[in-house]
């Protein structure tokens, strides 16, 4: 006698319509009938074991959060489409105009065209004020201070990365990092995993306590007028600080 295989028994238990030969076999084979009963018992025990993993689910809060996420994504997509359409057109007009003008001897466009400063660099500038290397289009988040505190954590930076800190008035910090960076934040705390490129941090001057940690190391701590800068600062002024991440 050929007995029913495990798969057939489990499918049968789960409501599969049995073929005539299967029903016939079960009616005469005690072993397979027992195996089917065992499969049913096992199913109950497994269901109970898995239920232990479940926590209460708060659907209302999650729905509000998901709706916010969806709205944000649609907003980003809409802005992105707008910028692509308009910037593309504007850039085309500018290039054509500049190209034509630069052909004229003595044209100011010519020197601009030839001496373009190029893309932001990760090399620190030599002296001068701390200036944001970030283009205005770099993704950024704005995070409010919580209970007077602001903690900023930066990860994923490579040696040579410039981190500019600029002190600002107001109750919020702003973190800008290259496109593709990942931000995580809550009030009083911002974390960024950086893709290669410079980082600009605008930190509230008046927070009771502001800290910056980079790759697990404390780079600065400001508490009122007291400022400690254990990080690798290359420029320091009242306006801000420029760090360059050193070789490990």
């Amino acid at each position: 006698m050929t007995h029913l295989d495990e798969g057939t028994l489990v499918a049968l238990r789960d409501g599969d319509e049995p073929e005539a030969r299967v029903t016939e076999h079960l009616s005469v084979c005690e072993r397979c009938a027992d195996a089917l009963a065992d499969a049913r018992d096992r199913s109950a025990v497994i269901a109970e074991a898995l239920a232990a993993l479940d926590d209460p689910v708060d659907t209302a809060s999650a729905k509000a959060a998901a709706r916010g996420r969806l709205d944000a994504r649609r907003g980003e997509a809409s802005r992105s489409r707008w910028w692509r359409a308009h910037l593309g057109r504007a850039a085309g007009i500018l290039l054509v105009t500049a190209g034509a003008a630069s052909a004229l001897p003595g044209s100011p466009w010519r020197s601009w065209w030839v001496g373009s400063p190029g893309a932001p660099t990760t090399e620190p500038s030599s002296g001068g004020e701390v200036a944001g290397p970030q283009s205005p289009a770099a993704p950024a988040i704005s995070v409010p201070v919580a209970e007077g505190r602001m903690r900023v954590i930066v990860r994923g930076v490579v040696p040579g990365t410039v981190i500019d800190v600029v002190w600002v008035d107001g109750p919020s910090a702003r973190v800008a990092a290259p496109s593709g960076s990942e931000f995580t934040y809550a009030d009083g705390r911002a974390e960024v995993d950086v893709t290669q490129g410079p980082v600009r941090l605008e930190l509230p001057r008046d927070a009771a306590l502001t800290t910056l940690e980079v790759e697990g190391q404390l780079f600065l701590e400001r508490s009122g007028s007291r400022l400690e800068v254990p990080g690798p600062a290359v420029e320091l002024s009242d306006a801000g600080i420029r760090f360059v991440v050193p070789q490990r």
Binding site: E6, A11, L50, V57, S61, A62, R69, T184
Partner: protein
Amino acid sequence: MDFDATFDQYYRPLVRYCQRLTGDGDVAEDVAQESLVRLFDRGVTGWAAGIRAWLFKTATHLVRDGYRVGKNRMRLLEEHPVAPAPAETPERSLERQEARARAREALAALPPRDREILLMRYSGFSYKEIAEVVEVAATSVGTLLARAERRFAEALTATGKTV
């Protein structure tokens, strides 16, 4: 397709499935939300069974790919704090923790595909739906499920629970 109705219908089972799959409630909530957000963001439409399969397939792939917990989770938790669970006795709490640890350990002992098949089955999916999500032939699901159940039961027994 109505966002609220769809969310109400699918969010809870999705979280349960992801929680069982990952063992992490935060990741489970985030993956479930992300799956639903993608459903609407991409304008997926179809029959209810197809929507459900799409959602679970997306969630399964997000978990498989090690989906990074959402950028906004901390902020969202601040804005929408999860209500604390009702108080329970210390004994009951301990029992629950032990049962959870045993189930988690037994699940972790399964190969990923067995784990997915088992969890989908115990989330109420038909064999056809499981086949579609896990990408196996529908005729193989019974056999694969039986093997997954046997392995899970053995692992559970090894952790001290009689099956």
